[in-house]
Symmetry: C2
Subunit: 203 residues, 2 copies
């Protein structure tokens, strides 16, 4: 069963090999039991090394979380920006944005869980940096919706509230998604894109 296995290729740009193995191990452990409930011994054990080896590659446990959170947030932001800058009508761009954002949170739901639910465990300066990335994501999603309103394709009485709701809806997929469930990430992405387009559709 590789249902729990974190895809390694998503972290392929992390070197050396041992550091990458630590990140993959930490993502699995954090997603399963939460940051605070995960011990450095557990992370090191999953990566096949002794507890002390962790501190050669990372200053401490929090920096591992920071690495994961940073990579995850940047990936999510990139997906949204690609959709926003891609061509097509506002409806097509919104559909693409929701579909790929949701699919990512389903496919990488372990990473997504860490990214979305362990923010509070970051140190203060790391926290503010990550919050900045989140604001960029929100601005990107809002710009798509604003485009649709401006062109008359969308009817949205409360743009910022709807933006918040759409992002919240997508993000929460990471919480409930179960790889053994009936729906594939693609199907959920399609379903959610339909639902979001209904939210902004004129009567």
């Amino acid at each position: 069963m590789d249902a729990e296995a974190t895809d390694t290729e998503a972290w392929s740009d992390i070197t050396p090999d041992a550091a990458r193995r630590l990140v993959v191990a930490a993502v699995e452990a954090f997603a399963e039991r939460g940051y605070h409930a995960t011990t450095t011994r557990d992370i090191a054990g999953r990566a096949g090394m002794s507890p002390a080896a962790l501190y050669i590659h990372y200053k401490n446990k929090e920096e591992l979380l920071y690495q994961i959170s940073g990579v995850g947030h940047r990936r999510a932001l990139t997906l949204l920006r690609q959709a926003a800058e891609g061509g097509g009508t506002p409806a097509e761009r919104l559909r693409t944005a929701v579909r790929s954002f949701v699919r990512w949170h389903a496919e990488h739901h372990t990473t997504g869980r860490v990214v979305q639910y362990e923010l509070g465990a970051l140190g203060p300066e790391h926290h503010t940096e990550i919050v900045g990335l989140r604001r960029l994501s929100e601005a990107t999603m809002r710009s798509i919706i604003e485009d649709g309103v401006r062109s008359g394709d969308f009817d949205v009485p409360d743009v910022s509230g709807t933006t918040l709701a759409v992002l919240s809806l997508c993000i929460d997929v990471a919480r409930w998604f179960n790889p053994g469930g009936r729906r594939t990430p693609d199907q959920i992405g399609e379903l959610y894109a339909d639902l979001v387009l209904r939210m902004v559709r004129p009567e």
Copy 2:
């Protein structure tokens, strides 16, 4: 600032007084830092007693979480059932359900956070009991949507998927809601009810 203060009257049926103070303290602590990052010394300290006093009223830390989770889930289920059994068209019942469910998750966002995000910290038998309550909530929400589809008031291609998305959307309010923010729980409830009705509205 009582922005962080958990409303005490929500736990008024817990006696004796010391046990209630412990629950209120635990809700605040769990919501702020998570179950595993919260120490029994911290809970007891917030409640104004020594660490040992906790074990007079509760068997252990997990039973405190179980108490909170049980009360919270039962309250949420009651809100949904009142909306489902209340009169009116399916649209009116769906609007009431979303509005009151969302408002509860915003007003009691500390409790909501514990209820929704600390499920995994429950022991196995407590966990399965709580999961049963969650299934009842889902069934209640689905029945409202099914009613609307049957009567022709709603157009919903995927009933169970839409049910999941609606509940997910409402639940996630507990994660991002900030009492110092621009929107009141009532406003968010109203906004979300509008958005959900758009999701099920026929063309």
